[in-house]
């Protein structure tokens, strides 16, 4: 290990977050004290059951749902798989067509590809240069065989927020169910499943200072959906498996904290983010900010630096103790260009050269200063190595 600077500046909150002390404290009693199986009849298990039901109310309150519509599962990917496969399979006799966008997370895209292999057909809608889906495109794509529209609430890579309510209205105008992957949106975009006409919504705890391995799928009452995991009668027969009680409890507490003051939180994070963006644009030429100028997550900054490749930026930043990411965090092992950046129209080499900085609750103005100090030097060094840099 090459410890140029041991100081860890974490700017990858879209990949995952630390757990807040309040969340850990909420979970702690459920490890070895209130450890009963919530399905058990005896009073001892009532504590577990109540922990789960409290969390269900907390999640419901955060998104304007009823507690009975919240279904716990193991994370955002499971929720996406469940929503899309579950609706597609359960409504097969009504149609075999799904509408989604080209910039969805792989948990949605690869699930859609799987359904294509099972005989379904999928429309992948294009997005504009800022990464926005046009609700009119959704409307045009819907056929009488369409059973589901799935468009994410906010993009994990470039932070673009979608016109969710408009898309929900279009879907419902045509009697089609609407799923949204809100894994990145929670805590940054106020969600109201009624107003936004959302039928299914995916959540993942570790993106908002909650536990990893805890997620939820909101399913509007009356929605026809198959289970993804069959077995015992947990979650009212919808998702089998002994409940991850500590995880669920932590998830509930975390979403409560994350949605308590979205606006105030955004204001503070966006101020830091904006200074970061301004500073980088001022000090590094041939730089492009990806995503929407306004309709974007408060914590997200995404850049393309011409002539250099993303992974090498990350690793030089890492050598200075800065944690960041490129492409989509979940597939950072691959050297594929980002499907999101290609979809917004970037040429291949720029789609290879992105840097995502996502701020969070532990970042300070000092962190911003530090990145502003280190990054120009890093990009400069790599540009000196690159054969693409004009001399």
């Amino acid at each position: 290990m090459n410890d140029l600077d041991p100081r860890p500046v974490y700017m990858d909150h879209a990949a995952t977050t630390f757990m807040k002390p309040e969340v850990i404290a909420a979970m702690a009693p459920y490890f070895s004290e209130h450890f009963g199986n919530p399905s058990s009849l005896y009073r001892f298990a009532a504590e577990s059951r109540q922990g789960v039901e409290t969390a269900r109310r907390q999640v419901a309150a955060a998104i304007g749902a009823n507690p009975g519509e919240i279904n716990f599962c193991a994370g955002g990917s499971e929720a996406d798989n469940w929503a899309i496969k579950g609706v597609a399979l359960a409504n097969r006799e009504r149609g075999n067509h799904i509408v989604t966008s080209a910039i969805e997370h792989h948990a949605v895209l690869h699930t859609c590809e799987w359904l294509e292999r099972q005989g379904f057909s999928v429309t992948y809608l294009p997005v504009d240069e800022f990464g926005r889906v046009d609700p009119a495109d959704v409307e045009e794509a819907i056929t009488d065989r369409t059973t589901l529209v799935s468009v994410m609430a906010a993009n994990n890579e470039i932070g673009t927020i979608q016109p969710v309510a408009e898309i929900g209205r279009v879907a419902h105008d045509h009697g089609v169910l609407f799923h949204t992957d809100a894994v990145q949106a929670v805590g940054a975009v106020p969600i109201d499943v009624e107003r936004m006409e959302i039928d299914l919504l995916s959540l993942s705890g570790h993106k908002f200072y909650g536990p990893k391995g805890a997620g939820a799928l909101y399913i509007r009452e009356g929605t026809r959906i198959e289970s993804l995991i069959h077995g015992g009668g947990q979650e009212r027969g919808r998702r089998a498996g002994t409940e991850n009680v500590p995880g669920i409890v932590g998830f509930g507490r975390a979403i409560e904290l994350a949605t308590a003051d979205i606006e105030g939180h955004n204001r503070c994070i966006a101020a830091m983010r904006d200074r970061l963006v301004r500073g980088i644009l001022a000090s590094i030429p041939d730089t492009r900010v990806n995503g929407h100028p306004k309709e974007r997550l408060a914590n997200n900054a995404n850049f393309s630096f011409r002539y250099v490749e993303g992974e090498s930026i990350l690793l030089l930043l890492d050598a200075h103790g800065i944690c960041a990411s490129t492409g989509s965090a979940c597939s950072s092992g691959s050297s594929e260009p980002s499907h999101v950046l290609l979809a917004i129209g970037l040429p291949h080499e720029e789609a290879h050269g992105s840097l995502r900085l996502t701020l969070g609750d532990a970042n300070t103005e000092d962190d911003v200063d530090y990145v502003l100090e280190v990054l120009p030097e890093v990009i400069g060094r790599l540009r000196k190595i690159s054969p693409l840099t004009p001399s």
Partner: protein
């Protein structure tokens, strides 16, 4: 995916970076579409590589591989340099993650392209690459010259 310390050191401190204005041979492989471009410059005296430089657009493994290859071929004869295998580069780097081995192949290819450029400029026949060591020619997708 994890890099060895040697990869990180080579990547963060590449020694022979840059253009050789008066190069006797230049080899370029890769394409921006694939996310990797390597260019190797050679200065040759009496069939011996007296200076070598590289420029790379690509991931840390690509930069480290090309840097290491450049370092390794300095002072070799052209035919010794031709025989540098991607495995030699991987070994010198203390190993590469499986998904990154192709970067070392790319570096080997860039060296060969530079040597053949030198030979062509001199009116010599370019040498022919035998089957690649990594897949015996079966086509692992690492070789831009295979399509």
């Amino acid at each position: 995916m994890m890099y060895t310390e040697k990869v990180i050191t080579e990547f963060t401190n590449p020694q022979y970076v840059g253009e050789l204005a008066d190069a006797d041979g230049v080899g370029e492989v890769g394409s921006p579409t694939c996310g990797d471009i390597m260019r190797i410059y050679l200065k040759v005296e009496e069939d011996r590589i007296v200076d070598a430089r590289f420029q790379t657009f690509g991931c840390a493994a690509a930069i480290a591989s090309s840097s290491m290859a450049t370092r390794m071929i300095r002072d070799l004869s052209l035919s010794e340099a031709w025989d540098l295998s991607n495995a030699d580069v991987v070994d010198a780097l203390g190993g590469l993650p499986a998904g990154k081995v192709h970067c070392s192949v790319l570096a080997r290819d860039a060296v060969r392209a530079a040597i053949n450029d030198y030979r062509t400029r001199r009116g010599l026949e370019p040498w022919e690459a035998g089957p690649c060591e990594c897949c015996g020619g079966a086509g692992c997708g690492s070789h831009p010259e295979n399509g």
